[in-house]
Symmetry: D3
């Protein structure tokens, strides 16, 4: 309703970005990544309404326009391969054109959120009964606990972990047992990497690894090296974090903006 | 039993290889692939017993020794990244060492079987109600119908295709609907690529694509381009072909060898 | 005036683009170039007013908004280095954002116009008393006369050519005489390349070359190889063509759109 | 006259080179550059007469032979692209052959002179009313003030700077105003790079940059970033330094050699 | 005889390898090299008999089987270019297959032995009357004396050195005199590199260099730079070390294994 | 004597070069090679005396000056790695400087002579009892018989071939027998490559290969593949051709120039 929309005083885009980078500096992101403020339609833009999403698909873009938001925070960057033109012939160009045409700003944190303390990987780790936790690749010169992936110490069975993980992500889980493992195998260490963890987790010595997706040949390598693999589907290993982040951002903005989590955003895959 | 083992007269390895390449010449395989006779323990080896498998994992290797086979035909090549040593510290090196130590030969067809008429992709296509079929990338200078992937004309609903595919591969299927699609959407064209089809299928104009595995970002691209994606899990999109091939090879060898399909070979993933 | 603006019925952007490519197909452009429709704000856009410019600078962008044009045709592509973001921190990103925010389409022909018969190089050649003319690098499979650069046969003195060139481009000219040349030297052949001709003209055997800009070391090479160099400044070797093109496009569009040549567009350099 | 030629006692080439490198060590030069003693016709060569030039063109080579010099110091290295042969078919090979055939040595300082304190860039900076000066890229481990380019603090109008620059180089100047600049704009900082400054000056925050030559697209980038560009023509931004250097070298050699500045050396371009 | 074979109690392969790496750690080897345990047929292999060879040719492989050895130590690694298959069509693959089929392990030290104190280069240096010795390229962080090649101080004539070298390697020597050298030239420094020393020795200032083989154009460069070249043939510059190593290894293994030096291993070249 | 020197009328360098390229066009040479007229001190040079050599070493350069030759024809190009300077600090630069200072021209044919009919490889093949001969790599579009290397059909023993080869090159020969070969082995095919033949001869199926030099590991590969290797030393496999060429060139020049074969040119290696 108009009344409700009027009740948020808003913040300058520049200040919202400052809060976002205060939480997770873009200097944390991987070199190959494309993060931060990706679309800034005008100078001095005022932000009253913000939509949080994992992927900025066209249904989510439609929702953003319906909700009249001023800023979209999309975990995955909609511009990744650099653009040589912005036309109606390709969904990513259409999304970019639509943002600008409707004066909607766009911010993507991606691997900065993966590494930050209290970010995506720390959220995913909560599926495990944590006895100890540290990054797989600690970030030099950053706050302790910052870095890529997580290595968690625990003491639980595979069957229990699978059940807890299903509950945590509110989705089904795909399991590939190590050659000698079964449901009752007791675990001591769990490697964690939200998203597509095949290359980051390669060579990690852990009883189980949890990630979003991994190729067949990578799975066989883990299983023959004593490691059971749990897959959540790519975005199901990330999306649940948005709820935590909404609270966090709301606090940082001191209620100046209205925040929404997308209702259209979901993992594309369902198992039949 | 010894009596049964004695009843197959066997063939020279060289002649078995000749039959395998008579069916699917290794010149068909992709340039980056490593196919054909990969392990030949001695000259003039006699082959009486043959094991067929999709992946030569260590449980399958154990089965091969139990069954006292002379030759393993593994669809995926166990040697892919070239070897600088052959030790006990890595499962692929252990498998190679075990073959040689036990004088078991090894043959891998991989992409030669993907392209050949009557091969893996033709088998996978049988899940569809075929009105017409041709390769996605026809092989220059080869028998018509040869080439990478398949493009199938059909006339059925997505719901029906999913049901038929589940039945054909005898496994569950993962579905990602195109932005405008639903179960009742009527299909005209289906792109097929056994295994990991993301790069081959890129840019193909089809209502549905069927493959083994595909990354999240590739799926989103297909879904926004009007294409529903059906995933079987990598090896479930390939393994069912072994039954067809067993009959085919038995005919070519005129009963000289005893043929087995591995009982230990299965896709590592299960959905819980 | 509003009355006048209403008097042009307009054309669909798609059809204007069809006329532009009917004259100079984008397939003519160099592989490294970025040409054609670069910004398409919405589907089915109607074009009533069009601005022609050599360079889409910010003053020209301001003029476009003042003139309320629907389409800018900028000879040089404003997007050349691919974009990873579109913000207010860089003039090229600001121009792109401004086009989209104001729903202005953008088309750039660049090297397609350089090669086409009746394009930029044919226009620049008119400064010479032409006895014969052909492309420096003919385009395979295209209409005769199409290709990169021009080689013109003539019979005039250097002094006369300099005078005629000044008149043709309506600007001053920079001269670097070949080691043995002077004003009265009689010319037989002239190499032409609008813009920055150093690499295309390298090795061309001509008495004079005309281009927009060329580096010091390239000039010395020409001068020691018997070739006098005439420089117009980069955009002065191109801009005069817009007048010819305006007439040509007006005919093709049968008066459906109002056409303007930018009044703000000019070469940045002036000699004091 | 012969009498005059006999009056200089000369120095061993080795010692002259020692003085040249004592002033500007070749270790200062850029990695991609080719500097120092480039032609040494014989061991123990005696040097009585030296010619200084900016570019060793063929007219300058003729002058060197007329003046019977033993050593040419050419700011730009005549050998840059490495030689696979030395014949009469190319002007640079002819110059090299002529040096050796006539036993003339050749030395080129190039970027070592650009960086050294009291070198080419310090000379060019004298066109500005200097309130402060430092290198754009300081040279690690060298005397303070050494490095590539210069950044000068000043307080003068653009019009005044243009006038002073014309006087300093004794040549006309090409001006490209920043989008918001005009003749009366007051300047605080000036970036300096003798020769071709486009890549070194990229990204420098200055009100004006002075260099020899710069491409059209680079100029537009500076002008949109708040920087006016002044161009002198490549060699006119360098040549005036030879007068200063002649005095400097004469002192170092304590009058042992006769020094000439070339009368044939001049910038190839003139504006008509 | 069987009795003799029974008299060595043997060692676990793992422990033999530990002794080999205790003497010359594989971390010493060059990055491009392939050293260490290259073939390990089974876990927990027992080693009673060991064959030492410079090159593992097929005649040497035959000898290994005749002598029923459990481990071959071949200075040159038989697997260098990585293997994509192991068949009977190529001598290196046949050697690898034969090792595995017969359960013979294989270890290659190569450049680890070149660098270690008391290794191949120290052995070759003994041909010189040593007044002082140090590595050409010292190994950072290793025991003093470790590194690539050797530089030896001496005081002897070339004729004397040639005679001593012939005696030390028990083979003929090829001599290429420096431009100013002859048999009576007195030497002060000798560069040493067993094997193929052209690239390691390049630029070394020494009166003589000793190596196994060197190309014609490299020899001319040394001879014009004041350096006489002595060539032993590649493997003759290395093979004599095996005798020293046999004693050394026997001590380390405390007599647990029987050691042989190959009788079939010899340099392929003979001069007629 | 001066009288004799006066008795040759000479030829323009341009015409001598025309005769050299009439025999072996430089277009025959390999892409990586540097052949043809490498030093041309002046235009219109007259050539009365010519020195032929395999390698232009400094002793040979001294001989050229003593003999007052106008042109040196050196089979190997003295300029191979391109030159960035020409000083007294390096033997190849000293040779180039000396040629120019003394106005001596330089021509190198190298791989053009290797391929031409009647060139270096045809000369080396004469050591074999030739029953048939063809190039290893025929040159497309050239006279039959032109190309790289030679493959000779014959019928003789290895012992006989070694003896004939020693006689033909007037030098000793190095022999590496194939695994199954000995002196009495009867030969049918011989691969020939003057100079360094390792890469050209790789994979050639021949009973023997003859070349100048080859590395240890290449020799082992040939020996295990059924091929005996005969090495002559690099320049001894080439130098004998100069005698044939002297007659050939003398005829082409119709006695206009005096021709010498260097007396200082010899292979650097001698076996002791």
């Amino acid at each position: 309703s108009l009344r409700k929309m009027a009740s948020f005083r808003g913040q300058k885009l520049e200040q919202v970005v400052q809060q976002l980078e205060g939480f997770a500096p873009i200097s944390l992101a991987e070199k190959w990544d494309n993060v931060g403020l990706l679309i800034e339609p005008t100078s001095n833009k005022l932000v009253q309404r913000i939509l949080l999403t994992n992927d900025l698909t066209e249904p989510v873009m439609g929702e953003a326009l319906d909700k009249k938001v001023d800023l979209i925070i999309s975990y995955h960057p909609p511009i990744f391969r650099p653009l040589t033109r912005i036309t109606q012939s390709n969904w990513k160009e259409r999304v970019v054109a639509s943002c600008l045409l409707n004066s909607v700003a766009l911010y993507s944190p991606h691997t900065a959120w993966d590494k930050v303390v209290g970010g995506v990987n720390d959220w995913l780790s909560k599926a495990v009964d944590i006895k100890g936790i540290k990054p797989l690749v600690p970030e030099a010169g950053a706050e302790p606990g910052t870095g890529s992936g997580r290595l968690v110490d625990t003491n639980m069975s595979i069957a229990q972990l699978v059940q807890d993980l299903q509950k945590h992500i509110e989705q089904s889980v795909h399991v590939a047992y190590a050659v000698e493992h079964h449901g009752n195998t007791q675990l001591r260490t769990v490697g964690i990497c939200a998203g597509s963890g095949g290359s980051l987790l390669r060579g990690v010595q852990a009883d189980v690894v949890i990630t979003g997706e991994m190729s067949h040949h990578e799975i066989l390598d883990f299983n023959h090296n004593g490691t059971t693999v749990l897959l959540c589907n790519h975005s199901n290993s990330e999306r649940g974090y948005l709820k935590e982040f909404k609270t966090l951002l709301s606090d940082r903005l001191e209620g100046a903006c209205e925040l929404f989590i997308s209702e259209k955003d979901k993992d594309p895959l369902q198992t039949l």
